[in-house]
């Protein structure tokens, strides 16, 4: 009699088979592919999206140009990621909280920051401040440490019984940090109203995603924390907007956190201080313009008769003028106030700091 063969399927199929289809509403040719959303889309929404995408792309290109001319410090460009940021920010309610990173100016501005945010790259604290009443944190430069913060803000909102929800932005690299996992676990345990909005742009500075993780997707990490996970085309502003809105609604209604993975691409460098051609194929990067979020929306708008070339040109001209004006304003700021260095460390300066400030002012007087 032949020996009995014991089948061990669990050992051989070591990969967890959890499939998250990529949500898409409008494809890269501008065709509506998910008719569920047809009734929710109209001319006004499409035009609102378009204006904001064009503004943000114009701002980003202007910032890069200012940096090259020595008029702006090191800058992290976001071109390619506009739909992910604008779509998710437009899904927020006015009272919600935003925890952005350094690459999320499009989200921050869409949610209410001024173009003056750029001045933060010239070391101006003014650029970090949101307008009165807007709950927009300064961009987090440390990686992933904003995620436990976002969970905490959401826990506080829930504790206070408010209807505020929180959105936290982060990149693919951040998912390797312990803070990402701790933030998700906290939000899950306390069912905190927070949307973890990941922009998977394929690279963490020089490290490609397949070297960052052995998991096939980012969104599958939601399974471990038993929270909803959504994987979507981050260059499709409609998919971003509707899915983020759904996740925020769920959060607001006691449904706890959601992890969203928005698949996107940054065409440019990590920051203006590096050269992406040294760590990836820039030709291949440029080929991704076929899936560009702005041209996709142009195709959609034209297909549906929501606007023509002349209208698009007028949007571009308006955006360019607005941004030129904002840059003028930024460049006419008075020099930084020396008090900025000493006055924001404690509620009232401790004697050590007061003494250092006095010494410094005396030193300046002597110089003059």
């Amino acid at each position: 009699m032949a020996a009995k063969v014991i089948s061990t399927p669990l050992l051989s199929e070591h990969k967890i088979n959890v499939h998250f289809p990529v949500q898409q509403v409008v494809n890269h040719q501008g065709q509506l592919v998910d008719p569920v959303y047809e009734s929710a889309i109209n001319e006004e929404l499409a035009q609102t999206f378009y204006r904001q995408l064009v503004r943000m792309r114009t701002l980003d290109r202007k910032a890069k140009s200012l940096q090259r001319q020595g008029r702006l410090g090191t800058y992290p460009p976001f071109e390619g990621q506009e739909a992910a940021q604008v779509g998710s920010a437009l899904a927020l309610e006015a009272d919600d909280w935003m925890f952005p990173t350094y690459r999320d100016h499009a989200a921050s501005i869409t949610f209410g920051k001024s173009y003056g945010i750029l001045s933060s790259w010239n070391g101006r604290v003014e650029g970090n401040l949101p307008p009165a009443g807007k709950k927009i944190l300064p961009p987090s430069v440390p990686i992933a440490t904003q995620l436990p913060l976002a969970a905490g803000a959401a826990m506080a909102a829930k504790f206070k019984g408010s209807s505020e929800a929180v959105i936290a932005y982060f990149g693919d690299g951040a998912t390797s940090e312990g803070d990402f996992h701790e933030g998700l676990n906290f939000a899950s345990v306390y069912q905190a109203p927070v949307v973890f909005f990941n922009q998977n742009n394929g690279y963490a500075i020089s490290l490609p995603i397949h070297k960052q993780m052995n998991s096939e997707t980012i969104v599958q990490k939601a399974v471990a924390y038993d929270i909803p996970g959504v994987r979507l085309d981050g260059n499709d502003i409609f998919a971003v907007y509707f899915q983020t809105k759904k996740a925020l609604e769920r959060a607001r209604n006691g449904g706890g956190p959601t992890l969203i993975e928005a698949i996107t691409w940054r065409y440019g460098a990590h920051t203006t201080a590096d050269d992406p051609s040294k760590y990836r194929d820039q030709q291949e990067s440029e080929e991704r313009r076929e899936y560009d979020p702005v041209t996709r929306l142009e195709h959609f708008i034209k297909r549906n008769g929501y606007g023509d070339d002349a209208w698009m040109d007028s949007v571009q001209i308006e955006a360019s003028e607005e941004i030129e004006e904002a840059v003028k304003e930024m460049e006419s700021m008075p020099p930084p106030d020396i008090n900025d260095m000493y006055d924001f460390i404690f509620a009232a300066p401790t004697w050590t700091i007061a003494e250092h400030k006095q010494q410094y002012l005396k030193h300046l007087q002597e110089e003059e």
């Binding site: 410090g73 090191t74 933060s120 010239n122 070391g123 101006r124 604290v125 430069v141 440390p142 990686i143 992933a144 440490t145 690299g173 951040a174 390797s176 940090e177 312990g178 803070d179 963490a204 500075i205 020089s206 490290l207 490609p208 397949h210 070297k211 960052q212 993780m213 201080a273 590096d274 050269d275 040294k278 760590y279 990836r280 194929d281 020099p335 930084p336 020396i338 900025d340 260095m341 000493y342 460390i345 401790t350 050590t352 700091i353 250092h356 400030k357 010494q359 410094y360 030193h363 300046l364 002597e366």
Partner: protein, 344 residues
């Protein structure tokens, strides 16, 4: 044979020499190779770190020994501590010393404690290379000088080189050392050039270097501030004041003897440390000299440090934040009791 190379090249060369000598030496960190598995990018073109310090190493040593890790400081720091205690001799690159916040436990409660808690039976031959320092327009979270934090932890050695020669020799000594060494690299010094011998040599950890001899006062500088002290000393010499400049090079262990004997000769001490003033190296050295060298002192000890504030991002504010030759000369004039202030 000595040639003139940059600090960055000296560090790169030290890593290469150590890796050639000892197959157990590996380098791990974020972006240290760059261009992982991009077909058209050959290893010779790989990026080599955010400031290119490790460029070319992956070409010679391959991706088995030069590891681009996920963005996980606790991950690679813990891996390095454990790999060191189980037979390798890793160099972990903490891109900016400010990122220690994400992985301090691996250093403070793990690597630094292994030998002690295993009753001397474990060793942790790891080197942590990390960038520090203000003046690079890198803002409050990428510009700190946190060497005092590490100096206060028993079980860690701490070195802060001020020249390419010292950087190469100290890094080779750090890699050879059987205890954890935290090796600080001032990012504003990477382009500083100096004479560096081609071959393998070490600079002993724990030995200070008198960078300039003088008899009127002693100036101790930490890292880049040695150069500030030397510049000030040059100006002072023009006024007939001879300053002795001492570079401790290692902060842990600290060569107290060289500092004390210099003060015994000059009777006056100025310490220049760009870290925040409380519990920093200037304060520590001042306490040691007050304790062990009080009889040598003819005047109070002066400390030139940053103010007790974060590093400002605004360029005009950052420029004034750091110690400068002017600030050193001002302190010296107070110390020598000049009736009118010296100036440049």
């Amino acid at each position: 044979m000595a040639r003139t190379i940059s600090m960055s090249e000296a560090i790169n060369e030290a890593i290469a020499l150590a890796m050639r000598k000892d197959p157990d030496v590996v380098l791990l960190g974020e972006d240290v190779a760059g261009g992982a598995e991009v077909d058209h990018l050959q290893d010779e073109d790989a990026w080599g770190g955010v400031l290119g310090v490790t460029k070319g190493l992956v070409q010679e040593f391959g991706r088995e020994r030069i590891l681009d890790t996920p963005i996980a400081e606790a991950g690679y720091m813990g891996a390095a501590m454990a790999a060191a205690s189980t037979g390798l001799r890793p160099i972990a690159e903490l891109m900016f010393n400010d990122f220690i916040g994400s992985c301090l436990d691996e250093v403070l409660n793990q690597g630094a404690k292994f030998r002690y808690m295993f009753g001397g039976k474990a060793q942790v031959p790891v080197t942590v290379r990390t960038m520090h320092g203000a003046g690079f327009r890198a803002a409050a979270q990428h510009s700190q000088s946190l060497y005092a934090l590490f100096t206060s932890i028993p079980g860690l050695k701490v070195v802060v080189p001020s020249t390419p020669y010292d950087a190469k020799g100290l890094l080779l000594a750090a890699i050879e050392d059987n205890d954890p060494v935290i090796f600080f690299e001032d990012k504003t010094l990477y382009n500083m050039t100096g004479e560096v011998p081609e071959g393998y040599y070490t600079v002993p950890i724990g030995k200070a270097d008198v960078k300039r001899e003088g008899s009127d006062l002693t100036i101790v500088g930490i890292g880049k501030q040695v150069n500030t002290a030397l510049e000030a000393a040059g100006h002072l010499a023009g006024r007939g004041i001879e300053a002795e400049v001492v570079d401790p090079r290692s902060l842990s262990p600290l060569d107290e003897e060289t500092i004390l004997s210099s003060v015994a000769k000059t009777n006056r001490l100025v310490i220049v440390d760009e870290a925040n003033p409380r519990c920093n190296l200037a304060t520590d050295i001042a306490a040691i000299v007050a304790d062990k060298g009080f009889d040598s002192l003819d005047a109070p000890i002066k400390r030139i440090t940053a103010p007790h504030t974060p590093v400002p991002f605004s360029p005009p504010l950052e420029d004034r934040y750091l110690p400068s030759p002017e600030k050193v000369i001002q302190a010296v004039s107070e110390l020598l009791g000049e009736t009118s202030s010296l100036s440049l």
